[in-house]
């Protein structure tokens, strides 16, 4: 048992980084506009399928990793403009139901376009296979995923703390009326913020397609752990989403080691404990990077 501990812990962290990036996208959108984006998984799947189609057309994987999320963002902007925006003034239930309906429609649309069965989407040969980490053999592609996720998180942090637009975004989270009164176009803020969230989802979607399988339901399967991650990390905190993701990843991999059958339920148990001890989540405070 003990000899498994190191590899499992490491593996859990990698898995956690993955949940973190999905949760980050969810949090971004939720923090600013109160929209619970149930279609987040669909944007992941969409980016995955787009990347798959690009690789099939001989576009290099690296380009697909950037282009596919960008196209997903375009779709996201249209969705935000036409469907989500009219609901900002209403109760969160409205946008939740709308995005939920959207995710169901998207799933069937994927089925129509790319077929009901999974499609073979593999990482490029350079990233296939396993590398030795000393204490274990670890898939090269997973190491690549960690690197990409770290870059994405760092870029997001820099954007939010070091650019004028990022500062406006954070200010808008704290007080939308005030920032609007000061002359900032909040509609543009909302659209950019939504796009950022979708872009993160898109990257996660392409990476998930290469690591796991790619089928019409694959994105939605990852949505639940991401929601749990948000709750554990605490609403309103992007930093919380990252820590929450890592905790969920470790919880899943550790329970797999000791009580495999309980691996799925472990994240919910963790969520319950966190909510009992600290009802607002670990870092749940007002404001981004609070």
């Amino acid at each position: 048992m003990i000899e498994h501990l190191g590899p499992q812990l490491f593996n859990g962290l990698v898995l956690g980084a993955f949940y973190a990036i999905v949760a980050l996208g969810l949090s971004l959108i939720m923090n600013l506009t109160g929209t619970i984006n149930m279609a987040h998984g669909s944007f992941m799947t969409l980016a995955g399928y787009l990347a798959y189609t690009m690789v099939l057309r001989k576009i290099p994987f690296g380009w697909a990793l950037i282009l596919a999320p960008l196209i997903a963002v375009l779709v996201g902007i249209i969705v935000e403009r036409t469907l989500v925006r009219p609901l900002y003034k209403r109760e969160p239930f409205y946008s939740l139901l709308m995005t939920f309906g959207l995710s169901l429609m998207a799933e069937e649309a994927f089925r129509l376009i790319w077929g009901p069965n999974g499609v073979p989407f593999s990482p490029p040969p350079a990233l296939a296979g396993a590398a030795s980490l000393g204490f274990m053999q670890f898939p090269t592609f997973r190491i690549f995923i960690v690197v990409v996720l770290l870059i994405a998180i760092a870029a997001l942090a820099l954007f939010l703390t070091r650019t004028r637009f990022g500062l406006r975004l954070r200010a808008a989270v704290q007080d939308t009326e005030m920032i609007a009164a000061l002359g900032t176009n909040t509609q543009v803020l909302y659209a950019v913020n939504f796009s950022l969230g979708i872009f993160l989802a898109g990257i996660a979607g392409v990476l998930a397609g290469g690591m796991l399988g790619l089928s019409p339901t694959s994105g939605n399967n990852l949505l639940m752990p991401a929601f749990v991650t948000v709750i554990i990390g605490g609403m309103g905190s992007l930093f919380g989403s990252i820590i929450g993701g890592l905790l969920v990843g470790i919880a899943i991999s550790m329970t797999t080691l000791f009580i495999p059958a309980a691996s799925e339920v472990s994240m919910y148990v963790l969520m319950a404990i966190v909510l009992l001890v600290r009802p607002r989540g670990l870092f749940g405070e007002e404001g981004i990077f609070g």
């Binding site: 999974g118 296979g129 670890f138 898939p139 796991l212 399967n221 899943i252 080691l257």
Partner: protein, 424 residues
């Protein structure tokens, strides 16, 4: 501009409700074919939406081909066959309700279909209550023709017992007796596990690791890292569908496919198409195959026509699922024709025990004692890239097992299965 505040409590409630809805599925509507006067209606229940949409579509293609073939010959007793399709959404509850609707409202003469065993058992139960025939074309659990058997229920695809025994013997012969199992943690998986344990009990050998994975597991890495320490002779992958794709893909990424022989009780062509060639590996149980004399038989005209016609109609070769659909409807139609009736008891009596030839090698029969179709079960080695000119040609069929050699004996079945014909 103001917006409603979303607090944590509200978020938990909403996200919970939303996710619950996502988990429990959504109703969908599949339009029915037009009504024809005096046609014999057959109800077809398949999971057209959800994870098993692929197999559902292929089974339906098989049903359609058999229906068209019969109608071209003039139908059953001069009456056309009409398929009435319903989406059972891979949900036992929905399936039960749709089954009642098909029988009570559409007045179908029999029910067919299903992919997941849980749904098959649910429909079998309802059909038994309503006194209607149910032909389980695609749900594999032993119980359907075991302890939950009914006089009105027949099963075309193989039982899990047949799958595990056919592959268990074949793989043990090749690779050895220390097995590592990756098992889906629900009834189907447990029933496979029992089957493999029985094989080991007969031939000696042991299970050095058995990982129970929840249905819908996306990340298998935590389970896979345990394989190295267990040092098995063979890794058996029992998970199905998307889980199968995920698992094999990740085994490849962890370099395990190069280190350990891999195999399993069953693989279908559908999930294999979703795997890259680099992760297509091992020996697997297969239930039918479109391109081998071992599965189709020598010069089997009916089989050859079935394959050619399927490719012509649907643009790709038929899978085992297409075969299930075809065989199921074809036998049902034969029985109604022989019984000169659609009376369930008369038709059931006309199905059971009758030997027939079809689109596979040799002959077969639905066993009188448990209503399991007794047809061969094959084992194949995967060809990762197909054969030149045919990317679908992924199986190199290696072993044929007679049904009687791999299914439980009549005595074993009689101990658990009571068919309970009305008045008997």
């Amino acid at each position: 501009m103001s917006r409603p505040v979303l607090n944590r409590r509200k978020f938990v409630t909403i996200a919970g409700a939303g996710s619950a809805a996502a988990v429990f599925g959504i109703p969908a509507y599949i339009p029915r074919v037009g009504e024809a006067a005096d046609a014999i209606k057959i109800g077809l229940l398949e999971p057209y939406t959800g994870v098993y949409a692929g197999p559902a579509e292929n089974e339906t293609h098989g049903f359609e081909m058999a229906t068209d073939a019969w109608n071209k010959r003039g139908g059953i007793m001069g009456r056309k066959i009409e398929l009435v399709k319903e989406d059972e959404q891979n949900d036992p509850g929905v399936a039960a309700q749709k089954a009642r609707k098909l029988v009570n409202q559409d007045k179908v003469a029999a029910l067919c279909g299903t992919v997941s065993s849980g749904v098959s058992l649910s429909v079998a139960g309802v059909a038994n209550t309503l006194g209607t025939l149910f032909m389980d074309s695609g749900g594999h659990s032993d119980d359907v023709t075991g302890k939950s058997c009914h006089w009105n229920v027949f099963r075309t695809c193989h039982s899990t017992w047949m799958e595990t025994h056919a592959t268990g013997y074949a793989l043990q012969k090749r690779f050895g007796k220390k097995w590592f199992l990756i098992t889906p943690d629900y009834a189907y998986g447990h029933s496979l596990e029992e089957g493999f344990k029985d094989v080991l009990a007969h031939n000696g050998g042991r299970i050095v690791g058995n990982e129970l994975t929840p249905l819908g597991t996306t990340d298998f890495s935590s389970y896979l890292t345990k394989i190295d320490a267990a040092k098995p002779d063979l890794v058996l992958v029992l998970v199905q569908g998307d889980d199968y794709t995920n698992c094999l893909k990740q085994m490849n990424q962890f370099g395990l496919l190069k280190k350990y022989p891999v195999g399993g009780p069953q693989v279908e062509l559908e999930p294999l198409f979703g795997l890259g060639p680099e992760a297509r590996e091992g020996y697997w149980g297969i239930e039918w195959y479109y391109k081998s004399e071992k599965t189709l038989g020598k010069n089997n005209k009916v089989a050859q026509e079935f394959v050619a016609e399927s490719i012509k109609r649907y643009g790709r070769p038929p899978t085992a699922r297409n075969a299930f659909g075809y065989i199921t409807l074809d036998r049902l139609a034969h029985a109604m024709n022989d019984a000169k009736s659609t009376d369930p008891v008369k038709v059931a009596r006309a199905i059971e025990g009758v030997r027939f030839t079809s689109i596979f090698a040799g002959s077969a029969y639905y066993r009188k004692e448990d209503h399991q179709l007794m047809w061969p079960m094959w084992v194949a080695k995967i060809r990762p890239n197909g054969t030149p000119g045919d990317k679908y040609d992924l199986f190199d069929v290696t072993d044929i097992n007679a049904a009687e050699a791999v299914e439980q004996t009549i005595a074993q079945k009689e101990a658990v299965c009571k068919l309970g014909y009305p008045g008997a």
